[in-house]
């Protein structure tokens, strides 16, 4: 074929006026944010020696308090599992109210989604502070913080999962006169179940990560040991805590990935 007779398409498209202005605005916003965040090349270049000094003082990790730290890690996992379990269970009815076209009208959907958005907008550490004030110091406050944080996460994604199910089975049941609650329970929830499991596992992973730092504000778990380690310049103990957190978080993520693969197959 004679390729010279044919004009090849452009490799890139020239942006239009609005597109060009958008690129400029985004670039400006990033530069402005970097400046606001105190971007400093000098400080960045001077940090490796300080980091090396920290690691030299933190290594090897301390094994003196290993048993106590291990029990604190167990408490951390208990906070995460209990909080996530309560949050996941409570998320289902809330998600039914948030999902469009499943159980209730658009007005209720909107209100519930706004509430879920508010819950997600408040960081888990802030929820922990709130519950420390409400129920006192300790793991119970942490568990409540994890539960409410899980509701914000799972409630929204459970609702999205239900909205994304094939509408065919629900339509077939609607045509037989089934009530909305029956259609939700018989067709929508079973179809969304694999996605619920996946979302719940992500929720549990998120809860485990969050629970490791709740101790910073007195809401139980191993986070308090990390804070004390740094406050007392006991870097070897702080390093032990960091490594324990890393092992547990990575372990939970790996178990979650295997379970997801087994339950719903690849792709999510």
């Amino acid at each position: 074929m004679d390729s010279s007779a044919r004009t090849l398409p452009h490799r890139f498209n020239r942006p239009g006026g609005i597109g060009f202005v958008s690129y400029v605005i985004v670039a400006f916003a990033i530069l402005w944010s970097l400046e606001g965040a105190g971007w400093s090349v000098d400080r960045l270049l001077s940090s490796p020696p300080k980091l090396a000094d920290f690691f030299s003082r933190a290594w090897p990790p301390s094994t003196h308090n290993l048993e106590r730290l291990a029990w604190k890690m167990v408490e951390t996992l208990q906070i995460a599992v209990a909080g996530a379990a309560i949050g996941i269970v409570l998320s289902l009815p809330i998600a039914l109210l948030a999902a469009r076209g499943v159980l209730v009208g658009r007005g209720v959907n909107l209100v519930v989604r706004i509430i879920l958005g508010f819950i997600r907008a408040v960081p888990d550490l802030a929820w922990a502070l709130v519950f420390v004030v409400a129920v006192g110091l300790g793991p119970f406050a942490g568990m409540l913080a994890i539960a409410i944080d899980t509701i914000g996460f799972c409630g929204r994604f459970f609702a999205d999962d239900m909205e994304n199910t094939d509408p065919g089975p629900a339509e077939a049941l609607t045509a037989t006169g089934a009530r909305r609650i029956d259609i939700a329970a018989s067709a929508v929830i079973p179809a969304a179940l694999p996605a619920f499991v996946s979302t719940s596992l992500f929720g549990l992973e998120k809860a485990v990560r969050a629970s490791t730092i709740l101790g910073l504000v007195g809401a139980g778990g191993i986070g308090i040991e990390l804070k004390v380690g740094f406050d007392l310049f006991d870097y070897p103990t702080a390093m032990t805590v960091i490594l324990m957190i890393a092992v547990v978080v990575i372990g939970v993520e790996q178990i979650g990935a295997v379970l997801r693969q087994k339950i719903i197959g690849p792709g999510r």
Partner: protein, 248 residues
């Protein structure tokens, strides 16, 4: 005197600013009739079927189903009316992760609400027995506990038929029930479906792109073209040439 199960007057429907799907449709279906709704793609067959069951509201016109005017009914009365109707779609529309038996038991949800009809494990004995009888009629009783997503296309459609028939509906709508099946499975499913509905005396409105199916299984042909009814005649009076013109 003949009882009219479905009466449509002046039905109009359009989606957004697009051209109307149909304009001023008038037709009726007598009790026990089996009517084939035919027409090219985009002529509004599926939309019309859903309007007939009140799943989509028409922009104008009236639909009277089993003696009740759809637009006048509140949610509860509409559900009661729908409990006497059924829909068999081209995609089978089974709940994939549930068993065949649970899917058939869902057919009772129009008349019985609550967790006992959500899965077969909780269902009352009479409902399980009736569902098994329905499965026997479609030849799938031995697959009652198999998951719906592990069935072939033909088997899935048989289960959808069992679900639609389990609560003895009086009016059934079938939207291209064989469209997703290979020719042989399509023939078998269509023959089974028509045998069962005629034996039970169910009034049927079905769509099909298969001209032979429409002419051989339909007592009457309703042909849609250009948003209007181009053919409304007993199937014996409709020639293949007239049918071909609908798709021309």
């Amino acid at each position: 005197m003949q009882v009219i199960d479905l009466q449509a007057n002046g039905l109009c429907k359009r989606f957004g600013k697009a051209a109307p799907v149909f304009l001023g449709l008038d037709f009726s279906i007598r009790q026990g009739d089996c009517v084939a709704l035919v027409g090219a793609n985009g002529t509004g067959k599926s939309t019309l079927l859903r309007c007939c069951l009140g799943l989509i509201a028409p922009d104008a016109g009236r639909i009277s189903l089993l003696g009740m005017t759809m637009a006048d009914l509140g949610p509860a009365a509409r559900r009661d009316l729908r409990a006497r109707t059924g829909l068999v779609g081209q995609k089978h529309n089974l709940v994939p992760r549930l068993s065949v038996l649970s899917n058939v038991i869902h057919g009772f949800l129009g008349r019985h609400s609550g967790p006992r009809y959500w899965v077969h494990s909780l269902a009352p004995a009479w409902a399980r027995a009736a569902a098994m009888t329905a499965l026997e009629k479609v030849g799938l009783a031995d697959l009652a506990l198999r998951r719906a997503d592990q069935l072939s296309g033909g088997q899935s459609q048989r289960v959808a038929i069992a679900r639609a028939l389990v609560c003895n509906p009086r009016f059934l709508v079938a939207d291209e029930p064989c469209a997703s099946l290979d020719p042989q499975a399509g023939e078998e499913v269509m023959a089974l479906f028509m045998t069962l509905v005629k034996r039970e005396g169910v009034t049927v409105l079905f769509t099909s792109h298969n001209v032979q199916h429409a002419l051989s299984y339909g007592d009457r042909i309703l042909g849609l073209q250009g948003g209007r009814i181009a053919i409304d005649a007993p199937s014996a009076d409709v020639t293949p040439l007239e049918m071909a013109k609908l798709y021309g």
